[in-house]
Symmetry: C2
Subunit: 422 residues, 2 copies
């Protein structure tokens, strides 16, 4: 292994709280760095320099799929696809694939409308609904967080009895899908995990309607009951790997030949957005982003082999340690906010605040004080804590590669900063 | 810098002739490996772990664009876009964007047809024409290499007087574009460079019609007169960088708001495929594949600062050394084939054989002998010489990162193999 002592020393004194792209585990990066020059299975050729159709790269994808299936307990009737284009591409791809599935299933006439229902809980689900509408479906908001929050801001998620879910008549046409974003990276708002009171209200929707979830920013941070979903997707660049690859987990019966939907009014969809093309080719419909997938495979393996906390019990679900870890870390920051007597004020309702992206303001000092916070944090080696450019404030993103020590250092800085500035 | 002596020794004894993903320069990979752990402009955070909207990454893209513009002499009225999805995505994106441009320009009625003309010279342009047809344009083949070649195979490019270019009446509607693939990676067929008799016949087409070129596999291998093109694109994974990023160079006046074309019959196009969205956001409409772009920036810089051959004259075009280099290397292999008395037989016509992908067969021994060739080459450290799975045979891909010494070793092996097996 190469000697990266200087780089590792720099890493050891840096706390990377970037919202995405985000920190990755040291060990995975060390292995990836060496493999860039020479991949052990293809000595003399780096992992980014071999054919995606070689036996060596095939094995990378096989291993990554296997580890992902183990970690997320993915049922056999779901396919794992590695795609390009990020969440924004999936905003269109989910709609185009599911509209085709729906048109074929119901043998629609070309002029027939297709509805998609969106729970809009933050900036990303809002964008998803807009892109859905651009793709010629009727995008209906069954919840609008901007109306729920004060001052037209996204602050949380109402309980489902306050949502605007249409009650369908006996023979009424159902929506083609219900869409939600599991964790809103910009706004720091997250649905609860399985069993929690703040979990996504699956029970409010017809079980025949596929549920689509964008899990880009909380993927692999807790167990998921995959069988409740039609499609789950996640851009890699938070908990999983470098940017440039997107995981799509899709139930097999929803995968259709898009061209077969054209006679029922389906759109002409670029071949690269077809789940069927990706599934039939094992994600190699063309050259995939091989290096990015390889790094994801290393991260998946590390989560499986050396989770940050031990399994709470021998029968615990594989992602339980990561859930405990996320709870532990985010609780420390929220506790500091809640104990600050208003010096720090969280932007999200307590019940649905994110374990990944802790967003808060410093209301006493306004933007000037927030700028000072960001600057002094950076001087202490705590990087990337400015809020998203669209909302301002502070955002500390605590993904899987952020350690408990990092968070303790952050909290100590917050306390010290408050003492000096209140 | 890290000590990668073992990996570098392995690289030194390996000749990587993969068709794509393909070898990258050692120096670029060494820098990239160290930057994965800690990028010098953001110490303690790797290049894949920082925000794409950070000043540090912004500079990466600025530098890459500047170096690319210098190398390719890109005029000011062209935009450089970094996109995802590879050539296959561009098969659709070029058509969708240009059809929108054309519909707006001619204020078409929704039922009006749009034509795209394709010069089909090999497997990739054939696929491009098929995808164009899927995107609801009339894809017309102005040349079909399968009819030109013997036994229905792609073997070369006829001179333009043998093409099927429609002579348009005075007021006839023109095609929205003319499409060609500059180098056919699978079939080893390439158009000539500027001024060559085998150059793409621009003069055969109305100068108002944008010319679209897929340069995925010969990008940065010779000077290009960019002003002759409407769109040039290239997947990075041959001469430029890792897979997962695609360069698109597009003339500004062809960039339109796709939604504005809907009233003229334009399709609803996913936002991520819109050249306007990418141009308006400096390729950051969402999170781009940051690491892949960074490696491309290193390769571009190395081509500019330390080209493989000196500039032939002080006034020579910046890519002239790479053109000379490609000529020098491929000539050695073709000379060996031509001198083999039929032991090796090139699959492409001499006038349009590729400087990047040298494809040949061993007719005396059939597939068995070809397998033996691949196996023995591999044992000598010469990797990746099997032909594409769709056509078989041998393919030695000689991209920019392959050295003259590598090619001399390949040729010596070919000669030795012939002596032992003829």
């Amino acid at each position: 292994m190469a000697d990266f002592s200087q780089q590792l020393a720099q890493r050891a004194s840096t706390i990377n709280l970037n919202a995405g792209p985000s920190p990755l585990p040291d060990a995975a990066l060390l292995t990836a760095a060496a493999s860039l020059l020479s991949y052990p299975q293809t000595p003399g050729m780096g992992i980014a320099e071999i054919s995606h159709r070689s036996a060596a790269f095939d094995q990378v994808v096989l291993d990554a799929n296997k580890d992902l299936r183990t970690l997320l307990e993915i049922p056999d009737n779901y396919r794992v696809l590695w795609m390009q284009g990020g969440g924004l591409t999936q905003f269109a791809a989910t709609v185009l694939n599911l509209a085709a599935w729906y048109r074929i299933k119901h043998q629609l006439a070309p002029q027939d409308d297709v509805e998609g229902w969106y729970a809009v809980t933050g900036s990303w689900s809002k964008k998803a609904a807009e892109e859905g509408a651009r793709m010629s479906i009727s995008a209906r908001k069954v919840f609008d967080g901007k109306k729920h929050g004060a001052a037209g801001k996204f602050t949380g998620i109402a309980s489902v009895d306050q949502w605007d879910v249409p009650q369908l008549e006996e023979n009424a046409r159902k929506p083609a899908f219900v869409y939600f974003c599991d964790n809103e990276t910009v706004d720091g708002i997250e649905f609860g995990g399985p069993g929690s009171a703040a979990a996504f209200p699956f029970e409010a929707f017809d079980p025949e309607v596929p549920i689509v979830a964008d899990m880009s920013s909380n993927f692999l941070s807790r167990p998921v009951d995959v069988s409740k979903y039609g499609i789950i997707y996640a851009g890699a660049q938070k908990n999983l790997g470098p940017s440039g690859v997107t995981l799509v987990i899709v139930r097999e019966d929803l995968i259709v030949d898009l061209d077969a939907a054209v006679q029922y009014g389906g759109a002409r969809v670029p071949a690269m957005l077809s789940y069927k093309n990706m599934a039939d080719s094992n994600s190699m419909y063309n050259t995939p982003p091989t290096f990015a997938i390889y790094v994801c495979s290393l991260v998946l393996r590390s989560l499986l082999v050396s989770p940050p906390l031990p399994l709470p019990s021998p029968t615990a679900r594989p992602l339980a340690p990561l859930s405990d870890f996320a709870d532990q870390k985010s609780s420390l920051v929220y506790a500091e906010i809640d104990a600050s007597s208003g010096f720090y004020v969280g932007t999200a309702d307590a019940a649905t605040r994110s374990r990944m992206n802790v967003t808060f303001r410093l209301p006493n000092g306004g933007e000037e004080l927030e700028k000072k916070f960001v600057k002094e944090a950076s001087e202490k080696g705590i990087k990337g804590v400015n809020g998203h450019r669209s909302v301002g404030g502070i955002r500390t993103s605590i993904y899987n590669a952020v350690t408990l020590e990092h968070v303790k250092t952050l909290v100590a800085f917050m306390r010290d900063f408050q003492e000096r500035n209140q």
